[in-house]
Subunit: 343 residues, 2 copies
Amino acid sequence: MKIAVDAMGGDDAPQSPVNGAVLAARELEAEIVLVGDETEIRRGLATHGSPAKISVVHAAEVIGMDEPVATAVRRKRGSSIHVGARLLRDGEVDGFISAGNTGAVMAVTKVIVGTLDGVDRPALAVVLPTMTGRAVVLDVGANVDPKSRQLVQFALIGDQFAKALLDIPTPRIGLLSIGEEEAKGNELVRSVHQVLREQAINFLGNVEARDLYRGGADVVVCDGFTGNILLKTSEAIVEMMWHLMRKEFRRTPAGRIGGLLARGAFRRLGGRVDYQEFGGALLLGVRGLTVIGHGRSTPRAISNAVRLVEGYALRDLNRRVEDALAHLAGAQPPQNGARTETT
Amino acid sequence: MKIAVDAMGGDDAPQSPVNGAVLAARELEAEIVLVGDETEIRRGLATHGSPAKISVVHAAEVIGMDEPVATAVRRKRGSSIHVGARLLRDGEVDGFISAGNTGAVMAVTKVIVGTLDGVDRPALAVVLPTMTGRAVVLDVGANVDPKSRQLVQFALIGDQFAKALLDIPTPRIGLLSIGEEEAKGNELVRSVHQVLREQAINFLGNVEARDLYRGGADVVVCDGFTGNILLKTSEAIVEMMWHLMRKEFRRTPAGRIGGLLARGAFRRLGGRVDYQEFGGALLLGVRGLTVIGHGRSTPRAISNAVRLVEGYALRDLNRRVEDALAHLAGAQPPQNGARTETT
């Protein structure tokens, strides 16, 4: 198996992606294809003695982390993101990992790689830690104003994802809302509720963030705006709790000693609530697997993303998603995903 | 000053509200009017030796915590919420506090008490702890699908609130979105961005949850669906962090001893991230002040709500809000708030 890694994506590029590729090549099965400025990549690899199982594909351009997506996607067709997406489209690699500009990765992948049969638009999914295990939330940012039929597609995609990747035989699917009763929620949520009831999935009805984090759902479906707010709020509160905790522990001698004694507990807690453990957000519903790492992705996060892609590809998830969507209840017949590079 | 407290609202009613009223009457200036089943209230007060500064107004009905709002509001006109709202409308009290069914309190208050001049619909606001202090977020649940002009009104209301109640001379106002660039966000956010630029407020542009919790904004404006998701996600993550922390600290002897030594630090942290410290959510934009406590409100939370109403009324916030809205830029002339009980 071959997996492409965008060497130019992320705040510490190319260093973090290159080091992550080296880590992955050492620990995992897959061969890694680093995509980006060849000179810079070779220089980085040289510090590791030019390890085996890693090849390089040159890309002449770089899309910046904060560059406006629309123009970058159209004008920088030689970018590492474009080159990586073409490798994926042409079957040269089984997955593509980038910690670069999220909007650009989503847009380029969608256009170059194309969506699966029955999928109008891809969704960005994350796997979040809960009190009892973990849960998938989608969409967390690909579609800020989706139609209700897209939310139904996301539910079916999430169902297959949880079955294949989280090994849950009958995933419990919830619709994110502001109250459990069917009538609670905004217009989109209320319009999609009944359609979800009709699908061949284990639909719980509306769920709240509390249910998600207590482990009461395996898949939580929402529009990309709301999902992104949920994700970023979660990260922000974890950050604030660490900050305030450090401050309060340092305030007294007893707190400082207590903090030292409990270092192990803090480290384990940190591991539990760290998004990097899962390797990144997944762009689901496209013809190939794209993982979008956090901009601050460490080499370990990149390597975890490689591990994730290995599992994903091996389980042939995309075929299952197409099968499920072909049996979507109460909807228009599925459309074929665009597969031509038009931008 | 007189403040009405709904004795029938909340999971531990009437015990918690009655005990909260006793606490407030002892510590604060205001006289308390307990509204609800007179026999039950008198029985509760008797255990405190029937304290001074507390009177009782009987209400024959109770709206349940999970009762559907629409029918309850129309059919149970003798409920403690209805009776409390009428006391507020008639000027018998300066504020009304209920930890009851949030939807019912909002709907009844809006209809019976009416909105301020220039306010289309009231907003529910909460004051959240941040790394550096606190910030107001509105709307957190009153309007799930607002128009952009309502979001502009919320920004102006939040501005006045932060000036008067949080003592911030020039509040920094942010629009909650999924990226700081103006083009980021859903349709509503993008449509309101430019209008907010034109107002006589210190508008920061889009902000994310991270900015809010790092202390980068004093007022964060959003639709009620998104705000509710942000609020509940925040609560859920705090709950999860406590849960996982307890678990990890108990796992080893060093962790257990460390946890004991750091008890003070944990207690202070708990105080910092506890919503009850501020007393509840405020229904802003109505002709009178209504505070909606959390369903699990303790007597301390009820008493903090009384303290909040005292400060609010003394500062004559509502007049300032009407003045500000009369000068709202680029909008239709303000409408008069309905003040007749029509449901």
